[in-house]
Amino acid sequence: MKAEPGHRRLLTAIDTALGCILLVVVVQIWLLTASVEAALAGDRAISLPALLASGACFAVNAGLLRFILRLDRLGR
């Protein structure tokens, strides 16, 4: 049985949001790695901006998760 077009669009939107979450997580991994390297080199000034950027990334991910959960509820 073929999925309805509406359902397919829903899945596409969810998959896109998932892909965005994954991308942001990769950025966060890089951010943490760079912060650790800088801290080991004695540069502590970078830790606060990195923390704020990582927090912003998490906020974006939380928003995307909320979006996915809402779409999931719509689809059921």
Binding site: L11, I14, L18, I21, V25, S35, A41, G42, R44, S54
Partner: protein
Amino acid sequence: MVRREFAKFLVLGSLGLSFGNVWLWGRGLLAGPASPPPLPLPLAGVDEVPVGGVKLFRYPTGADPAILIRLAPDRWVAYGQKCTHLACAVYYDHGRGAVVCPCHHGLFDPASGRPTAGPPVRPLRRIELAVSGGRIMAVGVAAP
């Protein structure tokens, strides 16, 4: 349902990574006052180490391996012996004119300690030297 769980898992990971940055920042805030400068340590006589030769020692504590290198008749440098990539013991290759890390083939410039090739990105920890009474002395650790 699988997508939902996967999304939750990723966002949980994202939260964990954010906490990693929080921990790093908090650690910087809680770092205590700088420890007192280490005592000077005599390393070698001025003619004890030949040009291109090295002497291993431990400074500022017994847990910190270090290497003294005589680059020229009147030029000595000393660095912490731990590679800044993954802490392997580095050695001086006079033929190549580089401090070499055998683990992942990192290279450091012996004059400055800066990485010149391979995975290391931070310079070797430089140890400050002074000549006193015909002896090379370690007198401190340079700020990173």
